[in-house]
Structure formats: C-alpha cells, structure tokens
C-alpha cells in the first residue's frame, strides 16, 4: 500500500445545496481528529442555479497550505458535478454520487460509486437538499473516521435548531453505515484511522476574514461600518452576529462613502474603528482616506481583493490592488499597508494594524484577498496581543487643544470631544496646531513636515517586521499575500529554495528585503498581471528579478504549477 500523507476531498453541487456548510463540517471533523486541514471554494455570483465546489485538503503528519489539482474523493451532488469533476480525480480516486446521477462514463481509471443517497433522504422524509449530509456520512464512514466526532460537529453547525440538527445526524448515520461497507473495496488507500491522533495542542480551523475581525477586536475594535461587497462581506456578517455579546457597534450604512466617514467620525470621538470592503468599495473610500490622513484620525481599512477593473469577477481572487492602495488619494502622507498571507498572520496584522493606526494617528490598510478571506486553514490558537496605548494626553487645556502640535516624531497628543474644559478641532483643510485653517507657506510646510516625519518611525517598524522567510538556499522566491501559502505548498518538494514573504508593502522594508535576496537568484510569484511586487522590488532595491510568475485568471495558482516553474528556474 502506498503511503499517502495527504487527502483531497471535493464537494460539488448546485448553488444552494449546502456545499460550503458540508465542507466546513467535514473540515472540522478532520481538525478534531488532530489533522491539518485546508478548505477553499469557488462559486459564481449567483444565489441559486450556479455550479459551485469546495475542496478540502487534509494532511497526515504534514501541514497542508493550499488546494491541489487532483483530489481523492469527489462528493457530487448532481449529474453536472459528476461530469464536471471526473477530470479532477487522482487515478486512484473515486466519485461518490447518487445512483440517478451517473450519466456519462468517467474517463481514466476513476471509479464512480453510485449510492442510494436520495433514497435514504426519502426514507427518512427529509428535504431533498439534505442529500449532502448523507454524502458526508459516506465519506467519513469509508475513511474510518469517528462517528461521534462528526456528529458533534453537525450538532454545533445546527445549534439552536434542535430538530434540524437531529435530522442531519440521522442522515449522517445512514450514510456512515453505507460508507463503512465501502471500506474494503474502496479504491482509496488512505489509512485515516491509523492516522487518527487527538493528542497535542488544540488548533483552530479559521478563515482569513474571521481572523481579521478577531485580530481587530483584540486591538480594541468597538466600531465597524461596512457596505456589503464580496468577498469582504463575511467580516460584516461575523461582527454583526457577535456585536451584542461584545457590546460593540456594527452597522451597514448606505454606501462605502458613508461607512468610512462614520468610522472616521467614531474614531475622532475616541472609538477604535474599522471598515472592510473590496477594491471597488475602496475606490469610493479614497476621498476619506485622505481625510483620515489630513485630520490625523486613526482608521483601519480592510481591502479583500478580487479581480478588477470595475465589477470584474466578484467572487474570485486576485492581488491586483497593491499599487492602488499604496498610492490612492491626492497629496502626500504616511500610511501603512500590511498584507497577511494566512489566517494567523491576518489575526496578528489586524491587531497590529489597528494599534499602528492609533499609535501614529494614520490610515492603515490591511490588504487581504478572496483566497485568504474565504479559505480556511488550521492555525495555532491566537495569542493575546492586546491594545497598544495611543498618545492620549492627560493635560487639560482651557479652550482649543493643540491637536496638531508639532513634535519631534510628528505624532501629536490626542484628546477627544467631551473632555472637560478642552475643545478639539479636526480640519481637512490645511491647518495650524489648533486645527484652524491656514494658507501661510511656512505653516503649510511645517505641518506637511510634521505629518511626514512619522515615516521615519514607520520605516523602522517595517524593517523590523516587514519580511517573513521560510527555509534557506541559493535561490529566493519572493511573494506576498495568500500566494505565500501556494509557494509553501510548492516548496515541500523543491529543496535549496528560500521563501521570502513581503508583509509590509508600505513603507517598503527595503533594507531587510535586500539582505534576504542579495546575491541570490530572485524569483517572484504573484497573483496579478503586471507584477506589482516585482515593480516595488525594482523601485526600492534596484534589482531586476531573474524571473516572474504571474497568474490573473481569477484563480489562485496551483502549487503543482508553481513547483514545476520553480524547479525549472532553479535548474537553469
């Protein structure tokens, strides 16, 4: 028997058939068996009728970072899914589907397992959409998973809806029995039961969007305003749901213009605030980005990227907003752009981002993407990072407070309206130390210099924590955002290559990055058409990468493609 250290499962079906819920239940079941899990999905911008799929990758004794081209099992919930995903099977893989969905013959040597899935649903008298739960049971049974673990996961998924939970558990059990019978003849030879180990530290299975929300909460987030936009909306849904438990304000206003202005108003009043959107919504927020900079009001802006320009591909992934968010707005001012590559980093950088916004009184942009935002990874339990103190003044001034006091590092003392005896004037027009408008050339330059002086400290922060590396070797693959995960997956099977992830995109950690790539063969991999990280490397490091691999069809790279590209580049 060939030893396998990972397993790929795909669940496919029409939109509205519970594909995503099933994938999370299955993923969680694997997590609770102590395994490393990754889940991603693909869907069109439709509510019903479109075809969608989720892929679950499970690691046995190794971490899984990304999806792969071929899977071991496909649970196909309709005939289209059978036909569509035969090609995604490994030679040893199989398709589990209902008897009635076997149409065209499967190609290669894949085996189709037609089972009476719908018959079971009918026997129990459950709604037809619950066929996915029977299928889940088949998979878990066939792989020798523990039924009680899976049933616990199902009950949690349907918490508060007792009858529905028990119905789904019953459907699962019937599928599980069916799956157990398959075990002997199952073409897949994955010793899952032997791999089961529930020892070790408990870990989390979390998506990038939730991780961003949790990271911001850990830094004291109390005000969140957001206009729905795929793929950032899950941040809004998550925070909206937990707002009453946490005593925070989560609000959906009339537009992104309103969202960011509300968040800036709340921050001026003293509340740590955040907005989340995708590139199109960010476009609308740009005028207020400059407002936050000019009034030195802290704000954390999350851009979960999708392909553009314009409406682009609403439900797909890209890394094409990098140059845009670095340069957006008229005028010149300091900002920070952070790009996490996995949910753990998303948590840490959302915390850091909100803290930096308040420490320096600047806009901070957290640049995520659909692949990171809507995919799930297994990560260590999030650390307790806490709130860094902002420079809030205890001094009481009678009358107007010098809110824009000229200081050595450019950061002025902060107070909020309502402070006894003191008044605070924020002004989007150029202003003096008290906020009053000015056109005096000396004062204008003094205030510009004051704001821009923050760059010095920010550059130091960027050099300190702006680059992450994994491995070592004479060649370097530089990447950013969720593409880091693809590169890590690819480098499992290529040696002598170091992965360098740029995390601080602005200010750019030029010295640190230079020290990591200097004298080495430099390759760049990113999910856009023009090589935006590569262009930043040229600009800041004055180095021409030896080659750049780009993808811009709305999909993340396959690690297999990155692996063979890197291998071919390193050989040469």
């Amino acid at each position: 028997m060939e030893t396998v250290n990972n397993l790929g499962v795909m669940i496919a079906g029409p939109a509205g058939s519970g594909v995503f819920v099933s994938s999370v239940i299955l993923g969680k079941m694997f997590l609770r068996h102590g395994l490393s899990v990754f889940i991603t999905n693909e869907y069109p911008s439709l509510i019903r009728g479109g075809h969608q799929w989720a892929q679950i990758q499970v690691g046995f004794g190794e971490e899984v970072y990304a999806h792969r081209k071929k899977v071991d099992i496909v649970l196909a919930l309709d005939r289209i899914s059978v036909e569509e995903h035969v090609a995604d099977l490994k030679p040893s893989g199989c398709i589990i589907c209902d008897e009635g969905d076997v149409g065209a013959k499967a190609g290669n040597d894949a085996s189709i397992r037609p089972l009476p899935l719908r018959k079971i649903v009918r026997e129990i008298g459950a709604p037809s959409v619950t066929v996915n739960t029977v299928g889940l049971g088949v998979i878990v049974g066939a792989l020798g998973g523990e039924a009680d673990v899976a049933e616990g996961t199902i009950r949690e998924q349907f918490r508060g809806r007792g009858e529905l939970a028990e119905l789904n558990v019953e459907l699962f059990r019937r599928g599980y029995e069916l799956g157990k019978k398959l075990d002997g003849e199952f073409r897949l030879r994955v010793p899952i039961s032997a791999s089961l180990e529930r020892s070790g530290e408990a870990r989390l299975l979390v998506d990038g969007n939730s991780a961003v929300a949790l990271g911001a909460l850990s830094a004291g987030l109390t005000f969140f305003a957001s206009y729905p936009m795929t793929p950032a909306s899950p941040i809004l849904h998550f925070l909206a749901e937990v707002q009453r438990d946490l005593g925070i304000i989560v609000f959906q206003p009339e537009s992104e213009l309103a969202a960011i202005n509300m968040a800036i108003g709340a921050a001026y009043a003293g509340a740590r605030s955040m907005v989340a959107t995708s590139g199109g919504g960010f476009s609308l927020m740009v005028e207020a980005l400059g407002q936050a900079a000019m009034t030195e009001t802290p704000i954390l802006i999350v851009d979960v990227q999708r392909p553009g320009p314009s409406t682009g591909l609403p439900t797909h992934t890209a890394q094409s907003d990098l140059r845009f968010v670095i340069h957006a707005s008229q005028g010149e001012f300091p900002r920070v752009v952070l790009a996490p590559g996995d949910p753990y980093q998303a948590y840490v950088l959302a915390n850091r981002g909100l803290n930096l916004a308040w420490k320096y009184q600047i806009p901070v942009i957290l640049l995520s993407d659909k692949y990171l935002g809507e995919s799930f990874w297994t990560v260590s339990v999030f650390p307790n990072l806490g709130v860094e103190d902002a420079r809030v003044s205890r001094e009481r001034v009678s009358g107007f407070f010098p809110r824009y006091k000229v200081t050595e590092d450019g950061v002025s003392p902060l107070i909020f309206p309502g402070t006894p005896g003191s008044l605070v004037y924020a002004n989007t027009s150029e202003h003096d130390e008290y906020g009053f408008g000015t056109i005096d050339p000396l004062k204008v330059k003094e205030m510009q210099d004051k704001r821009l002086r923050k760059y010095q400290s920010l550059c130091e922060e960027a050099e300190k924590s702006g680059v992450e590396t994994v491995g070592s070797g004479g060649a370097v693959v530089a990447t950013w955002g969720s593409t880091k995960q693809i590169v890590l997956e690819a480098l499992k099977r290529v040696s002598g290559v170091k992965m360098v992830q740029v995390v601080w995109m602005e200010p750019f950690p030029r010295k640190k990055l230079l020290s990591e790539v200097y004298g080495k063969k430099l390759l760049v991999v990113e999910n856009n058409a023009t090589g935006q990280l590569a262009s930043l490397i040229r600009e800041h490091l004055l180095i021409e990468p030896s080659n750049v691999l780009l993808k811009y069809d709305g999909r993340q790279f396959f690690p297999e493609d990155v692996e063979s590209w890197i291998a071919s580049q390193v050989e040469g």
Binding site: L217, G265, A271, F436
Partner: protein, 283 residues
C-alpha cells in the same frame, strides 16, 4: 434671558463672509440658541462641509470637524454613535447637502440619528464663484448655466418629510430671533432634526428682498406641527414661503438600536472586548 453669554461660543476670529451674507445671522442665531439652552461648549461638536457655510467651524468655540465635501451626515453619525453624550450639529450648504451629499440625507432621516442638520441654502454655489445648485430656480443664469438653469429645483423640506425625518423646519436668515427659536427646537428634539435656512448670497444671487416679501411664519398661521399631511401640503407652497416648524414627531433613534453598546459609549471604552467564547466556534 440665559445666564450664558453667547460670546462664550465666539472664537474671536473675524468671519470672512461677504458683508450682508446670511451666514452671519445663522452664526448669531446658533450662538444665542446654545447660550439660552445653557449647553456647555465642550459637549458640542460642529461638523461642517465644504462651501461658504463651512467657515462656521472657525467661528464657533466648540469642538469641530471640518470634513470633506458632502460627508457631514455620515461623519456626524459616527461621532454620535460612538459618544451619544455629545450634541452633534451638522452644517451643510445646498451644494454640500443636496448635490454631492444628497445620498446621505434620506438615510439620516429614516434612521433617526440624533444629530441636527442645518442647511445654509442660498440656492447657488458661492465659494466656487456662482454655479448652479439643486435648489437654483429654473431659468436662472449662473456661471455654469449661462443660458439659464434647465433643471427643476429640489424641494428639500418635502424630501426630509417623505424620508421620515422626525423634526423638519425652515428658517430665514433675515429673521434671527425666529431662527434662534427654530434652532432651539431642533436641539431640544431627540432624533434627526432637519433645518433648512433660506439665505441670500449677496454676491451671486441676492434673494433678500424676494424672500423677505414671501415669507410668513407657521406659528402665526396656527399650524399644528404634529400634522404630517398638512406639513407636506405646506412644503409645496411657492407663492408664499412658510418658515418655522413644519413637523415634529417622536420615534426611537439610531442610538436606541445600539443600546447594547452604550454603557459606556464605545468612544470611552478602555479594554478590548472578550472574545474567548467566540473563539470556541473555530475549534
């Protein structure tokens, strides 16, 4: 008479508006209203947009946020939600509120956020030297409509009424005492208060004599401000122009919807929320 002198709200800076501008009266009426209601300056936040009206934050000795063009209402909403102890008064012009910022007005009205919006409506762009706005009368020649305005002007009072505003009033800059009383009514009102102030632009569209001739006071006409249908009818009058309180009603505010986040207000929180329980769902 109040114990507070209106001059406590004076920054001592000399306004740069044209002599005879209606903004002087609005500034004066506002200071007087706040003084008579004995509001402490540190509790007040004036939010101003872009236009001649926007200079008012330079002359009001209160907290202030001089925001970007058209965004007075969302900015004011954020301040109020974060700290409802503050009295948030928005100032906007007819360009700021009805052209670039119109998308926010009906929403502020229907969600009944407890902020006050005072619109300085002179029916023309002043600061950018005399272009058409959404309240410019039909046919008026401006620098951007040299052959006459071809767009039907907006009816802001009717818009506010139909959007669900809980306090709708109109004032005239030529009637400072009356305007002061309207402002006092707006400030006392719990919920969104919309006050449209008709004023001349002495440089680009001097309507003083016309307005003076046409206006009459709703109190004198015995109008009952709880009557929405009557208020809508009155808002349609053009031959004579009613000023005063058109409509006033009571409804839960936006802050009431976030009562779970008000004790203490989020702006005054020291510690991050405890997410321990929520993290359990990812295990």
């Amino acid at each position: 008479m109040s114990l507070v002198d209106p001059s406590v709200f004076d920054t001592g800076r000399r306004p740069v508006w044209c002599p005879g501008c209606g903004n002087y009266s609005i500034l004066l009426a506002l200071r007087k209203a706040l003084a008579e209601l004995e509001v402490s300056p540190e509790r007040v936040v004036i939010v101003t947009g872009i236009g001649c009206h926007g200079r008012i934050s330079e002359y009001m000795k209160t907290n202030a946020f001089h925001t970007i063009h058209g965004r007075v209402l969302p900015l004011a909403t954020g301040i109020k939600l974060a700290n409802p102890n503050l009295l948030v008064i928005g100032h906007s012009g007819d360009g700021d509120a009805y052209a670039i910022g119109l998308g926010h007005l009906p929403h502020a009205a229907r969600r009944n956020v407890d902020v006050k919006l005072i619109v300085h409506d002179n029916m023309v762009f002043g600061l950018t030297t005399g272009q058409v706005t959404p309240t410019t009368p039909l046919g008026l020649k401006t620098r951007s409509t040299p052959f006459g305005n071809f767009e039907q002007p907006l009816n802001p009072v009717l818009l506010a009424l139909s959007s669900g505003a809980t306090f709708v009033a109109r004032g005239f800059s030529g009637e400072v005492e009356h305007l002061k009383e309207v402002f006092k009514g707006a400030i006392r009102h719990r919920g969104f208060a919309f006050v449209e102030v008709l004023q001349p632009c002495v440089t680009f569209f001097n309507t003083y004599n016309t307005l003076r001739r046409k206006i009459y006071k709703l109190e004198d006409a015995g109008h009952d401000p709880s009557d929405l249908e009557k208020a809508i009818k009155l808002s349609l009058e053009t031959e004579r122009i009613p000023i005063g309180i058109f409509y006033r009603t009571s409804r839960p505010t936006l802050e009431d919807a976030f009562i779970h986040a008000m004790n203490p207000p989020v702006a005054l929180r020291q510690k991050p929320a405890d997410t321990k329980k929520i993290l359990e769902r990812f295990r």
